[in-house]
Protein backbone atom coordinates (compact mmCIF):
# COMPACT_ATOMS: atom_id res chain seq x y z
CA UNK A 1 0.00 0.00 0.00
CA UNK A 2 2.85 2.31 0.76
CA UNK A 3 4.31 1.89 -2.66
CA UNK A 4 1.02 2.85 -4.28
CA UNK A 5 0.86 6.04 -2.30
CA UNK A 6 4.44 6.77 -3.19
CA UNK A 7 3.90 6.16 -6.85
CA UNK A 8 1.03 8.61 -6.75
CA UNK A 9 3.20 11.15 -5.00
CA UNK A 10 5.99 10.58 -7.42
CA UNK A 11 3.95 11.10 -10.58
CA UNK A 12 2.31 14.13 -9.05
CA UNK A 13 5.68 15.50 -8.12
CA UNK A 14 7.07 14.81 -11.54
CA UNK A 15 4.32 16.81 -13.12
CA UNK A 16 5.39 19.88 -11.23
CA UNK A 17 8.29 21.98 -12.30
CA UNK A 18 11.43 19.87 -12.00
CA UNK A 19 13.67 22.75 -11.04
CA UNK A 20 11.66 23.24 -7.90
CA UNK A 21 11.84 19.53 -7.04
CA UNK A 22 14.66 19.67 -4.52
CA UNK A 23 13.39 22.74 -2.75
CA UNK A 24 9.92 21.26 -2.55
CA UNK A 25 11.29 17.96 -1.30
CA UNK A 26 13.22 19.80 1.37
CA UNK A 27 10.22 21.83 2.48
CA UNK A 28 7.99 18.77 2.78
CA UNK A 29 10.66 16.76 4.60
CA UNK A 30 12.30 19.51 6.60
CA UNK A 31 13.22 17.38 9.56
CA UNK A 32 14.75 14.60 7.49
CA UNK A 33 16.89 17.02 5.52
CA UNK A 34 17.87 18.72 8.74
CA UNK A 35 18.99 15.36 10.08
CA UNK A 36 21.13 14.90 7.00
CA UNK A 37 22.56 18.40 7.22
CA UNK A 38 25.49 17.68 9.59
CA UNK A 39 26.98 15.05 7.34
CA UNK A 40 26.35 17.12 4.22
CA UNK A 41 28.08 20.13 5.74
CA UNK A 42 30.99 17.97 6.85
CA UNK A 43 31.59 16.54 3.41
CA UNK A 44 31.22 19.91 1.74
CA UNK A 45 33.83 21.38 4.04
CA UNK A 46 36.22 18.45 4.27
CA UNK A 47 35.87 16.91 0.82
CA UNK A 48 34.14 19.06 -1.78
CA UNK A 49 35.85 22.37 -1.11
CA UNK A 50 39.31 20.75 -1.00
CA UNK A 51 38.33 19.06 -4.27
CA UNK A 52 38.13 22.45 -5.94
CA UNK A 53 41.71 22.87 -4.76
CA UNK A 54 42.82 20.71 -7.69
CA UNK A 55 43.30 24.03 -9.48
CA UNK A 56 46.47 24.21 -7.41
CA UNK A 57 48.04 21.71 -9.77
CA UNK A 58 47.88 24.32 -12.53
CA UNK A 59 49.16 27.18 -10.40
CA UNK A 60 52.37 28.22 -8.84
CA UNK A 61 51.26 28.31 -5.24
CA UNK A 62 52.07 31.42 -3.29
CA UNK A 63 51.20 32.15 0.30
CA UNK A 64 49.61 35.41 -0.74
CA UNK A 65 47.47 33.99 -3.52
CA UNK A 66 46.48 30.96 -1.51
CA UNK A 67 44.49 28.07 -2.88
CA UNK A 68 42.35 29.93 -5.34
CA UNK A 69 44.22 32.90 -6.73
CA UNK A 70 47.84 31.97 -7.15
CA UNK A 71 49.28 32.67 -10.61
CA UNK A 72 48.45 30.18 -13.34
CA UNK A 73 51.28 28.20 -14.86
CA UNK A 74 49.42 25.78 -17.09
CA UNK A 75 50.97 22.34 -17.14
CA UNK A 76 54.34 23.33 -15.70
CA UNK A 77 53.85 21.33 -12.50
CA UNK A 78 53.02 18.21 -14.46
CA UNK A 79 55.96 18.72 -16.75
CA UNK A 80 58.17 19.01 -13.72
CA UNK A 81 56.66 15.88 -12.15
CA UNK A 82 56.96 13.76 -15.28
CA UNK A 83 60.43 15.05 -16.16
CA UNK A 84 61.71 14.37 -12.65
CA UNK A 85 61.73 10.67 -13.46
CA UNK A 86 59.70 10.10 -10.32
CA UNK A 87 56.39 9.60 -12.10
CA UNK A 88 57.30 6.26 -13.61
CA UNK A 89 59.05 4.97 -10.46
CA UNK A 90 56.21 5.73 -8.06
CA UNK A 91 53.51 4.53 -10.45
CA UNK A 92 55.36 1.28 -11.04
CA UNK A 93 56.00 0.76 -7.33
CA UNK A 94 52.42 1.55 -6.37
CA UNK A 95 50.98 -0.89 -8.89
CA UNK A 96 53.53 -3.67 -8.44
CA UNK A 97 53.39 -3.67 -4.65
CA UNK A 98 49.63 -3.48 -4.49
CA UNK A 99 49.14 -6.28 -6.99
CA UNK A 100 51.55 -8.46 -5.02
CA UNK A 101 49.84 -7.49 -1.75
CA UNK A 102 46.43 -8.31 -3.12
CA UNK A 103 47.54 -11.67 -4.50
CA UNK A 104 49.35 -12.78 -1.35
CA UNK A 105 46.58 -11.51 0.91
CA UNK A 106 43.94 -13.40 -1.05
CA UNK A 107 45.95 -16.60 -1.15
CA UNK A 108 46.78 -16.68 2.55
CA UNK A 109 43.31 -15.55 3.65
CA UNK A 110 41.71 -18.40 1.73
CA UNK A 111 44.34 -20.85 2.94
CA UNK A 112 43.74 -19.86 6.56
CA UNK A 113 39.95 -19.83 6.19
CA UNK A 114 39.81 -23.26 4.54
CA UNK A 115 42.00 -24.88 7.15
CA UNK A 116 40.31 -23.14 10.08
CA UNK A 117 37.01 -24.53 8.83
CA UNK A 118 38.58 -28.01 8.80
CA UNK A 119 39.48 -27.82 12.46
CA UNK A 120 37.01 -29.61 14.68
CA UNK A 121 38.03 -28.47 18.16
CA UNK A 122 36.06 -25.34 18.77
CA UNK A 123 38.38 -23.76 21.31
CA UNK A 124 41.34 -24.23 18.99
CA UNK A 125 39.45 -22.62 16.15
CA UNK A 126 38.64 -19.62 18.30
CA UNK A 127 42.09 -19.27 19.75
CA UNK A 128 43.86 -19.42 16.40
CA UNK A 129 41.45 -16.90 14.90
CA UNK A 130 42.00 -14.52 17.78
CA UNK A 131 45.76 -14.74 17.37
CA UNK A 132 45.54 -14.17 13.62
CA UNK A 133 43.27 -11.19 14.13
CA UNK A 134 45.57 -9.52 16.63
CA UNK A 135 47.81 -7.69 14.10
CA UNK A 136 44.78 -6.02 12.56
CA UNK A 137 44.27 -3.99 15.74
CA UNK A 138 47.60 -2.35 16.08
CA UNK A 139 48.78 0.72 14.24
CA UNK A 140 51.53 0.66 11.64
CA UNK A 141 53.55 2.73 14.08
CA UNK A 142 53.62 -0.25 16.39
CA UNK A 143 54.38 -2.56 13.49
CA UNK A 144 57.41 -0.46 12.69
CA UNK A 145 58.70 -1.21 16.19
CA UNK A 146 58.19 -4.92 15.52
CA UNK A 147 60.03 -4.76 12.26
CA UNK A 148 62.88 -2.86 13.85
CA UNK A 149 62.94 -5.52 16.55
CA UNK A 150 63.45 -8.25 13.99
CA UNK A 151 65.52 -6.61 11.30
CA UNK A 152 67.72 -4.15 13.12
CA UNK A 153 71.32 -4.69 12.06
CA UNK A 154 72.97 -4.74 15.47
CA UNK A 155 70.32 -6.16 17.79
CA UNK A 156 67.64 -7.60 15.52
CA UNK A 157 66.45 -11.14 16.00
CA UNK A 158 67.01 -12.16 12.40
CA UNK A 159 70.67 -11.33 12.61
CA UNK A 160 70.96 -12.98 16.01
CA UNK A 161 69.55 -16.19 14.57
CA UNK A 162 71.94 -15.98 11.62
CA UNK A 163 74.76 -15.45 14.11
CA UNK A 164 73.81 -18.66 15.89
CA UNK A 165 74.24 -20.47 12.60
CA UNK A 166 77.52 -18.64 12.01
CA UNK A 167 76.15 -16.77 9.03
CA UNK A 168 76.83 -13.21 8.04
CA UNK A 169 74.53 -10.50 9.35
CA UNK A 170 72.18 -8.84 6.87
CA UNK A 171 72.05 -5.11 6.54
CA UNK A 172 68.37 -5.02 5.69
CA UNK A 173 67.72 -1.30 6.19
CA UNK A 174 70.17 -0.35 3.47
CA UNK A 175 69.43 -2.99 0.87
CA UNK A 176 66.25 -2.52 -1.09
CA UNK A 177 66.13 -6.09 -2.43
CA UNK A 178 64.90 -7.52 0.87
CA UNK A 179 61.92 -5.22 0.98
CA UNK A 180 60.25 -6.82 -2.00
CA UNK A 181 59.78 -9.76 0.36
CA UNK A 182 59.40 -8.02 3.70
CA UNK A 183 56.65 -5.61 2.67
CA UNK A 184 54.29 -8.27 1.25
CA UNK A 185 55.05 -10.42 4.28
CA UNK A 186 54.11 -7.63 6.69
CA UNK A 187 51.04 -6.82 4.66
CA UNK A 188 49.81 -10.39 4.82
CA UNK A 189 50.76 -10.58 8.49
CA UNK A 190 48.59 -7.56 9.27
CA UNK A 191 45.59 -8.50 7.13
CA UNK A 192 45.37 -12.29 7.10
CA UNK A 193 43.12 -12.38 10.17
CA UNK A 194 40.70 -9.91 8.64
CA UNK A 195 40.71 -11.73 5.30
CA UNK A 196 40.20 -15.13 6.85
CA UNK A 197 37.11 -13.83 8.67
CA UNK A 198 35.70 -12.69 5.32
CA UNK A 199 36.35 -15.98 3.56
CA UNK A 200 35.34 -18.07 6.56
CA UNK A 201 31.95 -16.34 6.49
CA UNK A 202 31.62 -17.43 2.87
CA UNK A 203 32.61 -21.01 3.73
CA UNK A 204 30.14 -21.18 6.61
CA UNK A 205 27.49 -20.07 4.15
CA UNK A 206 28.03 -23.12 1.95
CA UNK A 207 25.18 -25.62 2.15
CA UNK A 208 26.24 -28.52 4.40
CA UNK A 209 24.15 -30.96 2.39
CA UNK A 210 26.60 -30.69 -0.48
CA UNK A 211 29.35 -31.99 1.79
CA UNK A 212 27.13 -34.76 3.13
CA UNK A 213 26.27 -35.87 -0.39
CA UNK A 214 29.96 -35.87 -1.26
CA UNK A 215 30.73 -37.99 1.82
CA UNK A 216 28.17 -40.56 0.72
CA UNK A 217 29.77 -40.61 -2.71
CA UNK A 218 33.08 -41.42 -1.04
CA UNK A 219 34.87 -38.10 -1.43
CA UNK A 220 37.75 -37.53 0.97
CA UNK A 221 38.38 -34.24 2.74
CA UNK A 222 40.96 -33.08 0.27
CA UNK A 223 38.56 -33.67 -2.59
CA UNK A 224 35.85 -31.80 -0.74
CA UNK A 225 38.12 -28.79 -0.42
CA UNK A 226 39.21 -28.75 -4.04
CA UNK A 227 35.92 -29.79 -5.59
CA UNK A 228 33.38 -28.04 -3.35
CA UNK A 229 34.82 -25.36 -1.06
CA UNK A 230 37.21 -23.66 -3.46
CA UNK A 231 34.86 -23.53 -6.47
CA UNK A 232 32.10 -22.15 -4.26
CA UNK A 233 34.46 -19.52 -2.88
CA UNK A 234 35.30 -18.32 -6.36
CA UNK A 235 32.49 -15.73 -6.70
CA UNK A 236 33.43 -14.14 -3.35
CA UNK A 237 37.07 -14.17 -4.34
CA UNK A 238 36.49 -12.57 -7.73
CA UNK A 239 34.41 -9.77 -6.20
CA UNK A 240 36.90 -9.09 -3.42
CA UNK A 241 39.79 -9.15 -5.90
CA UNK A 242 38.08 -6.68 -8.20
CA UNK A 243 37.14 -4.37 -5.34
CA UNK A 244 40.72 -4.60 -4.14
CA UNK A 245 41.93 -3.79 -7.62
CA UNK A 246 39.86 -0.61 -7.48
CA UNK A 247 41.94 0.56 -4.52
CA UNK A 248 45.24 -0.16 -6.16
CA UNK A 249 46.33 3.44 -6.63
CA UNK A 250 45.89 4.26 -2.98
CA UNK A 251 48.74 2.25 -1.73
CA UNK A 252 48.96 1.69 2.01
CA UNK A 253 50.61 4.99 2.87
CA UNK A 254 50.75 4.14 6.57
CA UNK A 255 52.70 1.00 5.96
CA UNK A 256 55.29 2.45 3.61
CA UNK A 257 55.75 5.58 5.65
CA UNK A 258 56.13 3.78 8.95
CA UNK A 259 58.28 0.89 7.82
CA UNK A 260 60.54 2.77 5.43
CA UNK A 261 60.08 6.42 6.32
CA UNK A 262 62.51 8.70 4.60
CA UNK A 263 65.25 6.12 4.18
CA UNK A 264 67.06 7.37 1.09
CA UNK A 265 68.75 4.05 0.38
CA UNK A 266 65.41 2.34 -0.08
CA UNK A 267 63.67 5.23 -1.81
CA UNK A 268 63.69 4.07 -5.42
CA UNK A 269 62.46 0.61 -4.58
CA UNK A 270 59.80 1.65 -2.11
CA UNK A 271 58.57 5.11 -3.00
CA UNK A 272 54.86 5.06 -3.84
CA UNK A 273 52.58 7.83 -5.08
CA UNK A 274 51.27 8.58 -1.58
CA UNK A 275 54.68 8.84 0.03
CA UNK A 276 55.94 11.08 -2.76
CA UNK A 277 52.95 13.39 -2.41
CA UNK A 278 53.37 13.48 1.34
CA UNK A 279 57.10 14.14 1.22
CA UNK A 280 56.79 16.90 -1.35
CA UNK A 281 54.18 18.62 0.79
CA UNK A 282 55.46 18.19 4.33
CA UNK A 283 59.13 17.67 3.70
CA UNK A 284 60.30 19.90 0.90
CA UNK A 285 57.15 22.07 0.75
CA UNK A 286 57.17 21.62 -3.01
CA UNK A 287 53.55 22.53 -3.61
CA UNK A 288 53.73 22.20 -7.38
CA UNK A 289 54.99 18.65 -7.12
CA UNK A 290 52.60 17.74 -4.30
CA UNK A 291 49.51 19.03 -6.06
CA UNK A 292 50.33 17.55 -9.46
CA UNK A 293 51.10 14.17 -7.90
CA UNK A 294 47.83 14.42 -5.99
CA UNK A 295 45.77 15.16 -9.06
CA UNK A 296 47.56 12.47 -11.04
CA UNK A 297 46.67 9.96 -8.32
CA UNK A 298 43.06 11.12 -8.07
CA UNK A 299 42.47 10.79 -11.79
CA UNK A 300 44.12 7.37 -11.99
CA UNK A 301 42.15 6.22 -8.96
CA UNK A 302 38.90 7.35 -10.50
CA UNK A 303 39.62 5.58 -13.78
CA UNK A 304 40.62 2.35 -12.05
CA UNK A 305 37.65 2.32 -9.66
CA UNK A 306 35.25 2.91 -12.54
CA UNK A 307 36.86 0.08 -14.49
CA UNK A 308 36.84 -2.29 -11.53
CA UNK A 309 33.23 -1.46 -10.77
CA UNK A 310 32.32 -2.03 -14.40
CA UNK A 311 33.93 -5.47 -14.21
CA UNK A 312 32.15 -6.28 -10.95
CA UNK A 313 28.89 -5.22 -12.52
CA UNK A 314 29.50 -7.52 -15.46
CA UNK A 315 30.32 -10.39 -13.13
CA UNK A 316 27.58 -9.93 -10.57
CA UNK A 317 25.28 -6.92 -10.76
CA UNK A 318 24.25 -6.99 -7.12
CA UNK A 319 27.79 -6.67 -5.84
CA UNK A 320 28.63 -3.53 -7.81
CA UNK A 321 29.47 -0.46 -5.73
CA UNK A 322 27.23 1.73 -7.82
Amino acid sequence: MNTDVQKGDLTKALQKKKTWGLIKDISTNKVLYLMFAPIAIYFIIFSYIPMTGIVMAFQSYTVKGGLFSSPWVGLDNFQYFFNSGKAWIVTRNTIVYNVIFLGCYTFFSILAAVFISEIQKKWYKKLSQTLMFLPYFISWVTVSAFVYNFLNYEYGIVNKILENFHMEALDIYSNSGYWYLILPFMYVWKWVGYGSVLYLAAIVGIDQEIYEAATIDGANRFQKITKITLPLLKPTMVILLLLGLGRIMRGEFDMFYQLIGNNGLLMDATDIIDTLAFRSLMGTADFGMASSVGLYQSVLTLIIILTANWLVRKYDRDQALF
Binding site: F146, N149, K160, T215, S291
Partner: protein
Amino acid sequence: MSSLGVKSKKDSTPVYSTIAYAVVTIIALVCVLPFIVLLAGAFSSESSVLKDGYWFWPREFSLEAFQFIFRFPEDVLSAYRVSILITVIGTVVSLFISTMAAYVLCRKELRYRNALSFFLFFTTLFSGGLAPYYIWLSRYLHLSNTYYVLILGPMFNVMYILILRSFIKGSVPEPLIESGKIDGAGDLRIFLQLVIPLSKPALASIGVFTALAYWNDWWTAMMFTSKDQLIPLQYLLYKMLSAINLSAAMSEHVSSVNTPKETFKLAMTVIATGPIVVVFPFVQRYFVSGITIGAVKG
Protein backbone atom coordinates in the same frame (compact mmCIF):
# COMPACT_ATOMS: atom_id res chain seq x y z
CA MET B 1 46.36 -42.55 -2.44
CA SER B 2 43.73 -45.26 -2.42
CA SER B 3 44.41 -46.16 1.19
CA LEU B 4 43.79 -42.52 2.14
CA GLY B 5 40.53 -42.61 0.27
CA VAL B 6 39.33 -45.63 2.19
CA LYS B 7 40.18 -44.11 5.54
CA SER B 8 38.40 -40.90 4.74
CA LYS B 9 34.99 -42.52 4.73
CA LYS B 10 34.90 -41.90 8.47
CA ASP B 11 35.63 -38.27 7.60
CA SER B 12 38.37 -37.95 10.14
CA THR B 13 41.58 -38.81 8.35
CA PRO B 14 44.45 -38.02 10.67
CA VAL B 15 46.57 -36.80 7.75
CA TYR B 16 44.25 -33.99 6.73
CA SER B 17 43.55 -33.06 10.31
CA THR B 18 47.24 -32.83 10.98
CA ILE B 19 47.80 -30.65 7.92
CA ALA B 20 44.93 -28.37 8.91
CA TYR B 21 46.18 -28.03 12.48
CA ALA B 22 49.74 -27.49 11.31
CA VAL B 23 48.90 -24.77 8.78
CA VAL B 24 46.59 -22.91 11.15
CA THR B 25 49.05 -23.17 14.01
CA ILE B 26 51.94 -21.87 11.91
CA ILE B 27 49.97 -18.88 10.65
CA ALA B 28 48.71 -18.08 14.14
CA LEU B 29 52.20 -18.36 15.63
CA VAL B 30 53.70 -16.11 12.98
CA CYS B 31 50.98 -13.57 13.76
CA VAL B 32 51.62 -13.59 17.48
CA LEU B 33 55.40 -13.98 17.51
CA PRO B 34 56.27 -10.27 17.06
CA PHE B 35 54.14 -9.47 20.11
CA ILE B 36 56.14 -11.95 22.16
CA VAL B 37 59.46 -10.58 20.92
CA LEU B 38 58.26 -7.06 21.70
CA LEU B 39 57.35 -8.03 25.27
CA ALA B 40 60.61 -9.90 25.70
CA GLY B 41 62.59 -6.88 24.52
CA ALA B 42 60.67 -4.42 26.65
CA PHE B 43 61.28 -6.48 29.79
CA SER B 44 64.95 -7.07 29.08
CA SER B 45 67.76 -5.15 30.63
CA GLU B 46 69.39 -2.65 28.32
CA SER B 47 72.82 -4.16 28.83
CA SER B 48 71.73 -7.64 27.78
CA VAL B 49 70.15 -6.24 24.60
CA LEU B 50 73.28 -4.27 23.78
CA LYS B 51 75.37 -7.35 24.37
CA ASP B 52 73.27 -10.13 22.82
CA GLY B 53 70.51 -8.40 20.88
CA TYR B 54 66.81 -9.15 21.09
CA TRP B 55 65.50 -12.63 21.67
CA PHE B 56 62.24 -14.51 22.06
CA TRP B 57 62.38 -14.22 25.84
CA PRO B 58 64.19 -11.78 28.12
CA ARG B 59 67.76 -12.96 28.56
CA GLU B 60 67.92 -10.80 31.63
CA PHE B 61 64.59 -9.72 33.09
CA SER B 62 64.39 -6.07 33.98
CA LEU B 63 61.85 -3.31 34.43
CA GLU B 64 64.33 -0.49 33.91
CA ALA B 65 62.78 0.74 30.66
CA PHE B 66 59.35 1.05 32.27
CA GLN B 67 60.79 2.60 35.40
CA PHE B 68 62.52 5.10 33.19
CA ILE B 69 59.32 6.03 31.40
CA PHE B 70 57.31 6.32 34.59
CA ARG B 71 59.87 8.47 36.28
CA PHE B 72 58.75 11.28 33.97
CA PRO B 73 55.26 10.24 32.96
CA GLU B 74 53.93 13.65 31.88
CA ASP B 75 54.23 13.01 28.13
CA VAL B 76 52.73 9.55 28.24
CA LEU B 77 49.86 10.59 30.49
CA SER B 78 49.09 13.62 28.37
CA ALA B 79 49.13 11.50 25.22
CA TYR B 80 46.81 8.98 26.86
CA ARG B 81 44.46 11.78 27.81
CA VAL B 82 44.40 13.16 24.27
CA SER B 83 43.90 9.73 22.71
CA ILE B 84 41.09 8.75 25.05
CA LEU B 85 39.40 12.11 24.64
CA ILE B 86 39.40 12.13 20.85
CA THR B 87 38.47 8.45 20.65
CA VAL B 88 35.46 8.78 22.97
CA ILE B 89 34.12 12.09 21.68
CA GLY B 90 34.89 11.28 18.07
CA THR B 91 33.29 7.85 18.15
CA VAL B 92 30.10 9.00 19.84
CA VAL B 93 29.59 12.00 17.58
CA SER B 94 30.58 10.13 14.42
CA LEU B 95 28.29 7.22 15.22
CA PHE B 96 25.31 9.45 15.98
CA ILE B 97 25.63 11.60 12.87
CA SER B 98 26.45 8.63 10.61
CA THR B 99 23.43 6.66 11.81
CA MET B 100 21.18 9.66 11.46
CA ALA B 101 22.35 10.17 7.88
CA ALA B 102 22.01 6.44 7.17
CA TYR B 103 18.44 6.53 8.44
CA VAL B 104 17.60 9.51 6.25
CA LEU B 105 19.02 7.68 3.25
CA CYS B 106 16.59 4.80 3.90
CA ARG B 107 13.46 6.90 3.91
CA LYS B 108 11.56 6.29 0.73
CA GLU B 109 9.62 9.53 0.81
CA LEU B 110 12.80 11.41 0.02
CA ARG B 111 12.90 11.79 -3.72
CA TYR B 112 16.58 12.62 -3.76
CA ARG B 113 17.85 9.93 -1.42
CA ASN B 114 19.90 8.25 -4.14
CA ALA B 115 21.40 11.57 -5.08
CA LEU B 116 22.29 12.11 -1.43
CA SER B 117 23.92 8.68 -1.26
CA PHE B 118 25.94 9.52 -4.33
CA PHE B 119 26.88 12.86 -2.83
CA LEU B 120 28.56 10.92 -0.03
CA PHE B 121 29.88 8.12 -2.17
CA PHE B 122 31.54 10.41 -4.68
CA THR B 123 34.01 11.53 -2.02
CA THR B 124 35.45 8.00 -2.02
CA LEU B 125 35.91 8.06 -5.80
CA PHE B 126 37.64 11.35 -6.19
CA SER B 127 39.56 13.66 -3.95
CA GLY B 128 41.45 16.88 -4.32
CA GLY B 129 44.60 15.28 -3.03
CA LEU B 130 46.69 15.92 0.01
CA ALA B 131 48.02 19.40 -0.79
CA PRO B 132 44.71 21.30 -1.11
CA TYR B 133 43.32 19.43 1.90
CA TYR B 134 46.26 20.40 4.04
CA ILE B 135 46.28 24.03 2.94
CA TRP B 136 42.52 24.38 3.25
CA LEU B 137 42.43 23.01 6.79
CA SER B 138 45.48 24.76 8.10
CA ARG B 139 45.47 28.09 6.30
CA TYR B 140 41.79 28.75 5.73
CA LEU B 141 40.01 26.94 8.54
CA HIS B 142 42.86 27.46 11.02
CA LEU B 143 42.41 23.99 12.41
CA SER B 144 46.09 23.36 13.08
CA ASN B 145 46.91 22.72 16.70
CA THR B 146 43.34 22.25 17.84
CA TYR B 147 41.42 19.34 19.26
CA TYR B 148 38.90 19.91 16.49
CA VAL B 149 41.19 18.71 13.76
CA LEU B 150 42.08 15.54 15.66
CA ILE B 151 38.38 14.76 16.05
CA LEU B 152 37.01 16.04 12.74
CA GLY B 153 39.80 14.85 10.44
CA PRO B 154 39.16 11.10 10.65
CA MET B 155 35.50 11.43 11.65
CA PHE B 156 33.47 9.79 8.91
CA ASN B 157 33.84 6.79 6.69
CA VAL B 158 31.35 6.71 3.84
CA MET B 159 31.48 2.92 3.68
CA TYR B 160 30.32 2.72 7.30
CA ILE B 161 27.39 5.03 6.55
CA LEU B 162 26.38 2.85 3.62
CA ILE B 163 26.71 -0.29 5.74
CA LEU B 164 24.52 1.31 8.41
CA ARG B 165 22.04 2.24 5.70
CA SER B 166 21.67 -1.31 4.48
CA PHE B 167 21.48 -2.57 8.04
CA ILE B 168 18.66 -0.18 8.94
CA LYS B 169 16.90 -1.05 5.70
CA GLY B 170 17.04 -4.73 6.59
CA SER B 171 16.25 -4.65 10.29
CA VAL B 172 13.88 -1.75 10.88
CA PRO B 173 10.61 -2.75 9.22
CA GLU B 174 8.90 -0.05 7.18
CA PRO B 175 5.44 -0.64 8.78
CA LEU B 176 6.95 0.02 12.20
CA ILE B 177 8.12 3.46 11.09
CA GLU B 178 4.72 4.10 9.50
CA SER B 179 2.87 3.15 12.67
CA GLY B 180 5.15 5.41 14.66
CA LYS B 181 4.21 8.21 12.35
CA ILE B 182 0.51 7.48 12.72
CA ASP B 183 0.97 7.66 16.48
CA GLY B 184 2.24 11.17 15.94
CA ALA B 185 5.99 10.66 16.39
CA GLY B 186 8.18 13.00 14.39
CA ASP B 187 11.11 11.87 12.26
CA LEU B 188 13.63 12.68 14.94
CA ARG B 189 11.72 10.79 17.62
CA ILE B 190 11.32 7.78 15.37
CA PHE B 191 15.05 7.84 14.82
CA LEU B 192 15.92 8.18 18.49
CA GLN B 193 13.38 5.76 19.93
CA LEU B 194 12.90 3.19 17.17
CA VAL B 195 15.83 3.15 14.81
CA ILE B 196 18.68 3.48 17.29
CA PRO B 197 17.52 0.67 19.61
CA LEU B 198 16.87 -1.64 16.66
CA SER B 199 20.27 -0.91 15.11
CA LYS B 200 22.31 -1.74 18.19
CA PRO B 201 24.25 -4.66 16.66
CA ALA B 202 25.37 -2.56 13.71
CA LEU B 203 26.13 0.41 15.98
CA ALA B 204 28.37 -1.78 18.13
CA SER B 205 30.30 -3.02 15.10
CA ILE B 206 30.71 0.31 13.37
CA GLY B 207 31.46 1.87 16.76
CA VAL B 208 34.43 -0.39 17.43
CA PHE B 209 35.83 0.17 13.93
CA THR B 210 35.51 3.94 14.34
CA ALA B 211 37.08 3.86 17.80
CA LEU B 212 39.97 1.78 16.50
CA ALA B 213 40.57 4.24 13.67
CA TYR B 214 40.74 7.12 16.14
CA TRP B 215 42.99 5.27 18.53
CA ASN B 216 45.44 4.28 15.82
CA ASP B 217 45.43 7.60 13.99
CA TRP B 218 48.86 9.21 14.01
CA TRP B 219 48.60 10.86 10.61
CA THR B 220 46.24 13.71 11.52
CA ALA B 221 48.41 14.63 14.46
CA MET B 222 51.56 14.57 12.37
CA MET B 223 49.98 16.80 9.73
CA PHE B 224 48.28 19.31 11.92
CA THR B 225 49.73 19.49 15.43
CA SER B 226 52.99 20.67 16.80
CA LYS B 227 51.96 21.41 20.37
CA ASP B 228 53.04 18.86 22.94
CA GLN B 229 49.74 18.86 24.79
CA LEU B 230 47.88 17.85 21.62
CA ILE B 231 49.95 14.81 20.78
CA PRO B 232 48.00 11.54 20.86
CA LEU B 233 49.56 8.27 21.87
CA GLN B 234 50.37 6.83 18.46
CA TYR B 235 52.06 9.99 17.29
CA LEU B 236 54.04 10.18 20.51
CA LEU B 237 55.15 6.64 19.86
CA TYR B 238 56.07 7.52 16.31
CA LYS B 239 58.14 10.45 17.46
CA MET B 240 59.94 8.36 20.02
CA LEU B 241 60.65 5.54 17.59
CA SER B 242 61.95 7.81 14.89
CA ALA B 243 65.03 9.98 15.02
CA ILE B 244 63.94 11.83 18.12
CA ASN B 245 64.65 9.18 20.68
CA LEU B 246 63.47 11.02 23.71
CA SER B 247 60.71 13.46 24.23
CA ALA B 248 61.56 16.98 25.27
CA ALA B 249 60.42 16.58 28.84
CA MET B 250 62.39 13.42 29.35
CA SER B 251 65.59 14.56 27.75
CA GLU B 252 65.67 17.54 30.08
CA HIS B 253 65.98 15.23 33.04
CA VAL B 254 68.29 12.67 31.64
CA SER B 255 71.93 12.68 30.90
CA SER B 256 72.63 10.43 27.97
CA VAL B 257 74.77 8.06 30.01
CA ASN B 258 72.27 5.78 31.63
CA THR B 259 69.44 5.96 29.16
CA PRO B 260 67.95 2.63 28.14
CA LYS B 261 67.51 3.60 24.50
CA GLU B 262 66.78 0.29 22.84
CA THR B 263 64.48 -1.23 25.44
CA PHE B 264 62.94 2.17 26.01
CA LYS B 265 61.48 2.16 22.50
CA LEU B 266 59.94 -1.23 23.05
CA ALA B 267 58.58 -0.40 26.47
CA MET B 268 56.97 2.67 24.95
CA THR B 269 55.43 0.49 22.25
CA VAL B 270 54.05 -1.85 24.92
CA ILE B 271 52.53 1.08 26.78
CA ALA B 272 50.93 2.47 23.61
CA THR B 273 49.66 -0.87 22.33
CA GLY B 274 48.75 -2.52 25.62
CA PRO B 275 45.18 -1.19 25.93
CA ILE B 276 44.22 -2.45 22.47
CA VAL B 277 45.59 -5.91 23.04
CA VAL B 278 43.88 -6.13 26.43
CA VAL B 279 40.50 -4.85 25.22
CA PHE B 280 40.62 -6.72 21.94
CA PRO B 281 39.43 -10.21 22.99
CA PHE B 282 36.30 -8.67 24.50
CA VAL B 283 35.27 -6.76 21.40
CA GLN B 284 36.55 -9.15 18.75
CA ARG B 285 33.08 -10.47 17.99
CA TYR B 286 31.84 -6.97 17.10
CA PHE B 287 34.65 -6.67 14.59
CA VAL B 288 33.87 -10.08 13.17
CA SER B 289 30.19 -9.29 12.79
CA GLY B 290 31.14 -5.91 11.34
CA ILE B 291 33.26 -7.52 8.65
CA THR B 292 30.44 -9.90 7.85
CA ILE B 293 27.73 -7.24 7.55
CA GLY B 294 30.07 -5.16 5.46
CA ALA B 295 30.75 -8.07 3.15
CA VAL B 296 27.11 -8.89 2.60
CA LYS B 297 26.18 -5.75 0.79
CA GLY B 298 22.53 -4.81 0.71
